[in-house]
């Protein structure tokens, strides 16, 4: 806000300085006619007025131009015309000779007005051209413009003392100004910003400006009419710099534009191509569907190769294909495709098929509605032929190298977008699967109790760590009556989701079987029948079914192919594996299995420890030595940890020993352990 106010107040004061200077000069002119150097006082005052008018308006117009939002060459030239047209109109009476017939007072007013308008035009257009020079550039790069303005200030002040100066100094000014103008007039880079459809308009505007400049120069050269001040009163430097620059620059611009016409065609073409590419990549970035990306690619290809007709066929996925057509019907696409696929794909890795004269290929030509040339591009992704882009023209030799390359680039861009799309889809799919796994893990964790039920006459701590989100290890406990509790620990062969699903099944099987109060042998035999019925042939389960009887102070168990029970006798301070027979479930799927079920019974003493575990524990390997943890280490670590009073500490001690062994190994099986102590 403040900046704007300051800006406008600067503008107003600059304008007032200029107007005051002009008014004083005009009054002097009105009263005394044009002063001459012989009247030194008046002459100096007169020059001072002209200098302040000149500098005030130069900088007023500069701030005015800079405060306007000029974005295009047309806008700037329109403003120049805005200044030029009044000049042209004012010069008309003079050229037509009407001004001679004006009454003296009106003539003076006319001359004063004309002087003002011409100076305004000259200064305004100068500033506008400077703006043009810096259009779409960082202004800092144009320090020489500042130098040029400074030079103008110097020149205006020089005007006051010129008559006392040696003419060499004047000449130096003259020379420096000339070089500056010559340099500035070559700065025409903005021409490249001009787009094709604006060219005619710009050329016309420049033509008009040049005509008015011509009139102005003619007016000065003939000097047919007195002005408030003639250019000869201003030092040549100003004349050259400002009037000269504006005139020469407008002329140069017109010439450059005319010469630029043919070049503009190419630049336009390239700009259009770039826009085409940007469109395609933009649509990919906006996550538009593959269909939309290919739609854009097809339209851009047709447009930028100036094709009359074309079709695109792309097999985006197994189910459906993307088909786009222009001036070709769908049935033609199919017959074309069938005809072209063998030619394009089988013809020694051709990545493009350009047929300049279609009539030479009667088979193809018969399918076209009189098209004369054709460009076919196979769309190949990961060495897989996924589609084809085909373009047609009504004239022969329709597609040059440039167009071919462009179409190829478009196809590649669209393929990139397609690839990104695929990657993104896959990531989303994976994320979805991971999410499902997380849920599955939560469900499985609920299936496996953290604390075993029925801890009556014994206490137990459990540990379960699946190798993946979910696993095939499980354990559970079931209260049979007030004295007896059944424990089951097991391992479904395999890992991950399939094993986890079977594990859930087994939990259900045991939950229902334990409710029947069956003898262990009968229970295991029935479990084998149930498992045999629903497991794949190559899948099996190992488990231990163990019933603790606190009244009899004994435990009864069946080992069905599972890791042996590790038992610590407190009195002897010694741990041992209980070696016995037993076959896994789901291996023998006939009644013969029953003969492989062995039930064992064993009394226990107070503070004896029982360890049930899965093979993930004894098979856990040290990643460096590939050495498995093994039964011996487990036994030793139990003996070592058994000194702890607290059962929790015993478990922690054993787990710490296992973790020391496996180090950072992530390639592990599910690991499960139950540590139980009898009261």
């Amino acid at each position: 806000m403040t900046g704007k106010l300051q800006g406008s107040s600067t503008q107003i004061s600059l304008f007032l300085i200029g107007i005051a200077g002009f008014a004083c000069a005009a009054i002097t002119f009105g009263y005394y006619g044009k002063p001459t150097p012989t009247d030194a006082g008046l002459w100096f005052f007169y020059l001072l007025c002209i200098a302040s008018f000149f500098l005030g308006h130069l900088f007023f117009l500069r701030t005015w131009v800079n405060s306007r939002p000029y974005n295009s060459v047309e806008d700037i030239l329109k403003s120049v015309l805005g200044f030029a047209v009044p000049v042209g109109l004012l010069l008309l009476p003079q050229i037509l000779g009407i001004s001679q017939q004006l009454p003296p007072n009106t003539l003076v007013a006319y001359q004063i007005a004309k002087s003002y308008i011409i100076t305004l035009y000259v200064l305004g257009s100068f500033n506008l051209y400077m703006k043009l020079l810096t259009l779409r550039h960082d202004t800092n790069k144009f320090k020489f413009i500042e130098v040029f303005y400074a030079l103008l200030v110097l020149a205006a002040l020089y005007l006051l003392v010129r008559q006392y100066m040696h003419h060499y100094i004047t000449f130096t000014f003259y020379a420096v100004g000339g070089v500056g103008v010559a340099y500035l007039t070559t700065r025409l880079s903005w021409i490249s910003l001009v787009r094709k459809h604006h060219k005619a308009q710009l050329a016309f505007m420049l033509l008009l400006i040049n005509a008015i400049n011509g009139l102005l120069l003619y007016h000065y050269a003939t000097g047919r009419d007195a002005l408030l001040f003639s250019v000869y009163e201003l030092p040549e430097i100003i004349f050259i710099s400002v009037i000269g620059f504006s005139t020469v620059y407008a002329l140069m611009a017109l010439m450059a534009l005319l010469f630029y016409f043919p070049v503009a065609e190419i630049v336009d073409q390239q700009t259009q191509e770039l826009e085409g590419l940007m469109e395609i990549s933009e649509s990919a970035r906006r996550r538009e569907s593959v269909n939309q990306v290919f739609d854009r690619m097809f339209n851009a290809s047709i447009r930028d190769t100036n094709s009359y007709a074309g079709w695109l066929w792309f097999k985006a996925d197994e189910q459906d294909a993307i088909v786009k057509t222009k001036n070709v019907n769908l049935s033609q696409v199919n017959s074309f495709r069938d005809a072209l696929v063998p030619i394009v794909y089988n013809d020694t890795n051709k990545d493009v098929l350009n047929i300049p004269v279609l009539l030479e290929f009667p088979a193809l030509a018969s399918m076209c509605n009189g098209f004369r040339s054709m460009l076919a591009l196979p769309i190949v992704f990961n060495k897989e032929e996924l589609g084809m882009l085909c373009l047609f023209k009504n004239q022969e030799q329709g597609f040059d190298n440039h167009m071919t390359n462009m179409a190829k680039t478009y196809v590649n861009f669209a393929l990139n977008a397609y690839e990104n799309h695929q990657v993104l889809e896959e990531t989303l799919r994976n994320e979805h699967v991971l999410e499902e796994y997380k849920l599955a893990r939560q469900i499985q964790q609920r299936l496996i109790p953290v604390t075993l039920a029925g801890q009556n006459g014994w206490e137990a701590i459990t540990y379960l760590e699946p190798s993946k989100e979910v696993g095939g290890d499980f354990y559970d406990s079931f209260v049979l009556d007030e004295n007896r509790t059944a424990l089951v620990i097991g391992d479904v062969s395999g890992r991950g989701m399939p094993a986890a699903l079977h594990m859930a099944e087994i939990k259900g099987i045991f939950q229902s079987l334990t409710a029947f109060n069956l003898e262990p042998k009968e229970l295991i035999a029935r479990a084998n029948v149930a498992i045999s019925a629903c497991f794949d042939k190559n899948r099996f389960v190992t488990l231990i079914y163990l019933v603790i009887d606190k009244k009899e102070r004994k435990f009864t168990y069946v080992r069905a192919g599972h890791c042996p029970v590790l038992y610590y006798e407190n009195q002897r301070h010694e741990a041992n594996y209980i070696k016995d027979e037993g076959l896994g479930l789901g291996i023998l799927r006939s009644p013969i299995f029953t003969s492989h079920v062995h039930v064992y019974e064993r009394p226990y003493q107070q503070n004896d420890l029982l360890v049930l575990f899965s093979d993930g524990i004894d098979e856990a390997v040290d990643p460096k030595t590939k050495d498995a943890y093994g039964y011996e280490r487990l036994k030793a670590s139990l003996e070592e940890a058994s000194r702890h009073e607290n059962l929790d500490k015993v478990m922690k001690g054993m787990l710490a020993d296992i973790k020391r062994h496996i180090k950072e190994n992530r390639e592990l099986d599910d690991m499960t352990m139950i540590l139980l102590r009898f009261d």
């Binding site: 062969s493 192919g561 023998l588």
Partner: protein, 113 residues
């Protein structure tokens, strides 16, 4: 894992070299299926170079037990190292599968039946 087959005297010998893990189990399963299709049901498994067997590997043998029996054939294993044998033993497979020390015993056993 390397799976090498040799067929002589109406006995198919499958030599397993390396670790029979989840992936190589699929190859082994395929091998045995093909053998069954060609009615080669007397199969000797040479385990002299078998260093490890996963539960998936065991699953392959288990899944074909009944089929072999139905055709009057069987598996005979020989040359197992201690750790591989332990896996068979803990699972209880040594009670339902024929596991012998060397090739000679294996051939004798195969020809007995």
């Amino acid at each position: 894992m390397e799976i090498i087959q040799r067929y002589e005297d109406e006995i198919l010998t499958i030599l397993l070299k390396g670790e029979l893990d989840a992936r190589s189990s699929i190859d082994l399963d395929e091998t045995i299926k093909v053998a069954l299709k060609q009615e080669q049901t007397r199969i000797i498994i040479d385990c002299q170079h078998l260093s490890y067997i996963s539960s998936a590997g065991l699953g392959v043998f288990i899944s074909h037990l009944d089929d072999l029996k139905a055709y009057g054939g069987k598996f005979v294993f020989y040359g197992m190292n201690v750790s591989v044998y332990n896996v068979f033993e803990i699972l209880g497979l040594h009670t339902i599968m024929e596991i012998v020390r060397d090739r000679f015993e294996a051939q004798t056993l195969m020809n007995e039946s």
